[in-house]
């Protein structure tokens, strides 16, 4: 019977101090699987927590990513997004509706040329038009 831990439990287990910005931002990311940017997180928590600064969103997300509680994903256009699902998966970025979709794929790097390298993380991003946007004729 598995039980999804809440933000506070996860933070505590990672040995992090429980501060309001960390709890609020992490809870936001755990409950919104939209892969938001720092700015989007900031705007998403603003009404309920006007005291949390944008700088803290940057600080907290970076810290949580360092501690592997989040992953940072970089879109093909360079925007940085955060995701609370830390197991490897790819992402599909729709050029029309701008939504980001998870891809349940496993990467095969074929690193024969780089024998002996030590890989820390992998980013797999595809870009294009999602099925709904294709249907609506938004693909070109």
């Amino acid at each position: 019977m598995s039980y999804t831990e809440d933000a506070q439990t996860r933070l505590r287990r990672a040995g992090l101090r429980l501060t309001t910005p960390r709890i609020v931002i992490y809870e936001y990311l755990l409950s919104h699987r939209t892969h938001p940017t720092c700015d989007q997180i900031y705007n998403g928590i603003r009404e309920s927590n006007p005291g949390i600064s944008l700088a803290s969103v940057y600080n907290v997300t970076e810290k949580l990513a360092d501690e592997k509680l989040l992953i940072k994903i970089v879109a093909p256009d360079g925007e940085r997004h955060y995701d609370s699902i830390t197991e490897f998966h790819g992402h599909f970025f729709c050029l029309a509706c701008k939504k980001i979709f998870d891809l349940n794929c496993t990467p095969d790097l074929k690193m024969e040329e780089l024998k002996g390298a030590k890989t820390t993380d992998i980013l797999l991003s595809a870009r294009g038009y999602c099925p709904e946007c294709v249907r609506k004729g938004h693909a070109d």
Copy 2:
């Protein structure tokens, strides 16, 4: 007997006007497989072509990428790099020496969840420590 076309031929074939910035920048990218950023290209051509502006490097690389003469690759830290090899391949970014290595892999997106989507391009980036840096003890 295949013969690698020069920058001018490729530009002409793509229907682009032959301008000095385009020729110089494209030649630079064809002969330097270091995956440079716009700023690195600008500094690389500066001595020989002091008249070419940084704005032109941005304009030209974007235009050539639109015309599929180059690909734009986004590093896991968000930096934008350009590569004159346009066939799909992945990249490995060494965290220690900052070099970028090509990976001859093919992606397998497993897009069952996104049946009907139209994919325009794929970015596969791994991060870690290259064999030489591992050997030198730069990995952590």
